[in-house]
């Protein structure tokens, strides 16, 4: 009986509403945490697994030696490689495709790579406008490698002692 009277009084005095408004009022003056993407970015780990890149050596030679371990380990079958002997006798890919619509960004390719060639960069925002745009080919991946080499190298160095 007593409880029912208390409940009626509470609802008449809008206690719940005021409590809610109090919370709103508190956040009105608190420090804002909303990130104004894409102008603002959240902090990223050096181990972030974003868009792929094929790295190059400082002399411009591609690292990839077409061992096909990434292709074999890829659980989503997103990687397709074809290889042959280049004129200088080295083992090289003639085709290196990553189908980003299949990729699950598990990072196994990077783990398996014996020459640190295929890596996942911190790039997380990319898009395709038509079918096939998300099939990254070897030139595109090498371009990624060229573009982000400094960042990639810094991240790998920082992580080296844990690997």
């Amino acid at each position: 009986m007593f409880n029912r009277i208390k409940d009626v009084l509470r609802s008449l005095m809008l206690v719940e509403l005021l409590k809610g408004m109090m919370l709103t009022g508190r956040y009105l003056f608190a420090r804002k945490i909303t990130v104004q993407y894409p102008e603002e970015r959240t902090p990223q780990s050096g181990r972030f697994r974003g868009l792929h890149a094929l790295r190059l050596y400082p002399n411009g030679e591609e690292r990839c030696i077409a061992c096909k371990l990434c292709e074999a380990v890829c659980p989503a079958l997103a990687i397709t490689i074809e290889s042959e002997q280049r004129d200088d006798g080295t083992r090289r890919t003639t085709r290196y495709d990553i189908d980003l619509t299949k990729c699950i960004f598990c990072g196994f390719c990077e783990e398996s790579c014996p020459v640190d060639s295929i890596v996942e960069t911190r790039v997380l925002d990319y898009h395709g406008e038509k079918r096939g745009d998300l099939l990254y080919t070897k030139p595109m991946l090498l371009e990624m490698g060229r573009k982000y080499e400094t960042q990639i190298a810094t991240d790998r160095t920082a992580d080296a002692k844990f690997r």
Partner: protein, 806 residues
């Protein structure tokens, strides 16, 4: 039989066998690198060390014979410690380049290192580097990876017959190498790739192109010689990436010849015909199947309506039984009996005299247990690379090999007796052997009067020129150990004998010799399905034309199944002329070919890798295979093309849905092997040819051609296999003759000569080859450069090209 105990399991084994053999038979794994069941024991890798009770030191399982009551432990701490230590030593100098190594994923060292290797190396010094060797166009080397197991050395010495690799230096400086700058030229060389337990020897054409785990293995049968080796095609996507042997103790043991291994390179050559083509006013036009088939059918029908005998059907002996059978059925439907697959044969006097289908007369695996063998007219290594190894095994076990040949090429095994004579003298030489044999007390009076009459005329020459007497004695066997009831002897005819213009006489005399001494007699069939096509009766009807007469009196229309006329027929000149004069040539072909320039319609068919079918090999074994990949482009399996052609021509009985249905019709629903064993028979109905054989005639003083088919020119596929064409076997074309012959004719080695046969002539270089008898000139056939010449064996004229002074 001693009883031993391995890992607490008791087994009774043959005395004299080794621990590793016993363990293998029980399925107990012992790691090994240098041991191979088909090679001699070297015991130099030490990986198979095991613990044997009461022995203070671990023993190599491959080199330790079993003794009664022996107790072996392969997994004890002691054994495993020894194995791990060996592994550590082996890995000291082995590079860590597995990611770029073609052996990666199928590497014995990799596999065993997973079980016995440490996770890190204690070796901090510099690793050794060994320079790579260039040993030819088929095998690529990475000698730093070599662990000196010497399997390759032993293979080439024991199986290949010629020691082409060896281990020079010692200790850390030991390395496998060929002598100075030589390459490995064995026709079986590709097997060392399979044998190499590491990535030191890998396939050059396959280099870096695929990984073992990407490849799907599909079974097939090698389509080049009569052996029919079972092979495994490794497929990626829709491409055959490489070919490896399957193991069949009765056929190929575990080897295949280089021809079978590398011919896949032709399957995707630029020469492949991928759309039907019709010649329209002398210009080739691509078209669709419908119009091509209707065109072909109409033209063939037009000719057939007039006179069915105006059509000639030539089938490659490398075609499957189904294809050959349907071609025959199609011809019969048109009312035409001119069908033949014996394209390179030129003597057909034995037609309709055979009791059954001609085969090799014994089983392939019997060859190695023969004690006495006479091979007539065969350049063994060239024609039957892998069968020669069986013969080599027999000779090693003490067999006496005799040869009667127009070319003295080394078969890489000791030859007991040989007669090397001009092709025309071969019949006489055989008659001499028969005569020498018939006067032996054991056989005297066994011959029919007709043969006795025949050989009465023969004089057996003695002395170094002729070894007829010696061959006869060798064949009949002279020692007390000869088994008179079932003598282990064989008389075998090779391709040269079959192509010979007097094949009928050679065959019947050979048969007589074999019968006299109780040897098995047979023909080493040339192509993958020679026996099968014979069996399926793909032969001319009784009064119809055979492969030669069809070309000699040109037909109006030809149906060619997988044939390049001037390269696959006995007389290139005749073949080319007949095609040029024909009104209509319908060619079912895998490749665009210069030899088909006179065809009117080209129907693209699938090679063996893209069709299902059946081959019958030289011992009558029926082997069915299915397609490994899908047909390229618009290609269709030849049996389907022939089926639809039959439908378009309204010939009844052409409603097959699968190649199995065709083969069921061929075998009449019976068990193929049962049927084969009933029908294979080398005996002749009548001996008329033999009784009338020309013997003892004066050898005419005319130069003769020896037109052999070189190893890598045998069929359309190998001709287009680029790596094979780069080998030493692709001998430069020239007119090869004995140096005395060269001097007698007044030529210079390397000088230009013109060789003419009939109306055709070609310019060649004269070269010395002392393996050629006097009176003969060796000019390879089945080459477009010699397509202007005529018979593979026959008279020719040769003269020097005059060099006009400038």
């Amino acid at each position: 039989m001693p009883t031993i105990e391995i890992d607490d399991k008791v087994i009774e084994v043959k005395a004299g066998s080794t621990i590793i053999e016993a363990a293998d038979s029980m399925g107990i794994p012992i790691p090994r690198f240098c041991y191979h069941k088909k090679l001699s024991v070297a015991a130099n890798c030490r990986m198979c060390l095991v613990q044997v009770e009461k022995m203070g030191k671990p023993l190599p399982a491959c080199a330790t014979p079993v003794t009664d009551g022996m107790k072996v432990f392969t997994r004890s701490q002691f054994a495993v410690k020894a194995q791990k230590s060996v592994m550590e030593f082996l890995l000291i100098n082995h590079p860590l380049d597995c990611p770029i190594c073609d052996q990666g994923g199928e590497c014995e060292l990799q596999d065993i290192a997973v079980g016995y290797g440490a996770s890190g190396s204690r070796y901090t010094e510099e690793k050794r580097v060994v320079l790579n060797k260039n040993i030819g166009p088929l095998i690529s080397t990475d000698m730093t990876r070599c662990i000196q197991c010497t399997r390759c050395v032993r293979f080439l010495k024991e199986v290949g017959g010629m020691m082409e690799l060896g281990m020079v230096g010692r200790g850390e400086h030991a390395e496998i190498t060929a002598y100075v700058d030589k390459s490995v030229d064995s026709e079986l060389s590709g097997n060392i790739i399979d044998l190499c337990p590491v990535g030191a020897l890998t396939s050059k054409p396959f280099r870096y192109s695929a990984r073992t785990w990407e490849l799907i293995r599909r079974h097939s049968i090698a389509p080049h010689d009569g052996l029919g080796s079972p092979i495994e095609m490794h497929v990626k996507g829709n491409t055959v990436m490489r070919v490896l042997p399957r193991e069949d103790e009765a056929i190929n043991e575990c080897w295949i010849s280089d021809r079978d291994r590398y011919s896949y390179e032709a399957l995707n050559s630029a020469d492949r015909l991928t759309t039907p083509m019709i010649k329209d006013n002398g210009v080739w036009v691509e078209t669709d199947w419908q119009s091509a088939l209707e065109f072909a059918a109409t033209r063939l029908n037009d000719i057939a309506r007039n006179n069915p005998q105006d059509i000639g059907v030539l089938v490659s002996p490398n075609s499957t039984m189904e294809e050959a059978y349907l071609a025959k059925k199609l011809a019969q439907g048109l009312g035409c009996g001119n069908v033949d697959h014996r394209l390179r044969q030129s003597d057909f006097r034995l037609d309709s005299k055979h009791i059954g289908t001609v085969w090799m007369g014994c089983n392939i695996s019997d060859v190695q247990s023969m004690e006495r063998v006479l091979v007539i007219g065969s350049n063994l290594r060239n024609e039957h690379p892998l069968l020669t190894h069986r013969l080599r095994k027999a000779v090693k076990a003490g067999a006496e090999l005799s040869l009667l040949n127009p070319i003295d090429d080394d078969p890489l095994m000791p030859v007991a007796h040989k007669t090397i004579c001009a092709p025309d003298a071969m019949v006489n030489a055989l008659a001499q052997i028969l005569k020498a044999m018939s006067v032996m007390p054991r056989y005297a009076g066994h011959l029919s009067p007709a043969v006795s009459n025949l050989i009465d005329k023969v004089k057996v020459q003695s002395g170094p020129q002729s070894s007829a007497q010696a061959i006869a004695e060798s064949l009949s066997g002279s020692s007390a150990s000869v088994d008179l009831v079932a003598p282990r002897a064989a008389v075998l005819l090779g391709n040269i004998a079959v192509h010979h213009p007097r094949y009928a006489e050679i065959y019947s005399l050979g048969e007589a010799i074999a019968e006299l001494c109780g040897a098995s007699f047979g023909v080493l069939s040339e192509a993958a399905n020679s026996v099968g096509a014979d069996f399926a009766q793909v032969l001319p009807n009784a009064d119809a034309m055979n492969a030669r007469t069809m070309l000699e009196s040109p037909r109006k229309g030809y149906l060619l199944v997988n044939v390049e006329p001037e390269l696959d027929c006995h007389n290139a000149h005749l073949a080319a002329k007949a095609m040029a004069e024909a009104e209509c040539v319908v060619a079912l072909t895998v490749f665009k070919s210069e030899a088909l320039r006179d065809a009117d319609v080209l129907l693209p068919i699938a090679p063996f890798s893209e069709t299902s079918g059946t081959f019958m090999n030289m011992e009558g074994r029926v082997q069915t295979f299915s397609a490994a990949v899908k047909p390229l482009g618009e290609c269709r399996p030849a049996w389907k093309v022939l089926r639809v052609l039959g439908n378009v021509l309204n010939i009844p009985g052409f409603d097959f849905d699968s190649s199995e249905q065709v083969s069921r019709e061929i075998f009449g629903g019976e068990d193929p092997s049962q049927l084969a064993s009933n029908r294979l028979n080398n005996h002749l109905y009548d001996s008329g040819v033999r009784d009338a054989a020309r013997v003892n005639d004066e050898t005419p003083n005319i130069l003769q051609r020896i037109g052999e088919i070189s190893l890598y020119q045998a069929d359309a596929l190998v001709r287009r296999a680029a790596p094979l064409q780069k080998t030493k076997y692709a001998v430069p074309l020239a007119a090869y003759m004995h140096h005395a012959q060269l001097a007698q004719l007044g030529f210079q080695a390397g000088g230009a000569v013109t060789v003419s046969q009939g109306n055709g002539s070609v310019s060649l270089m004269a070269q010395i080859d002392d393996h050629v008898p006097i009176g003969c000139i060796r000019i390879a056939a089945a080459l477009k450069e010699t397509a202007a010449l005529g018979d593979m064996f026959g008279p020719l004229e040769i003269k020097a090209v005059e060099i006009k002074a400038a």
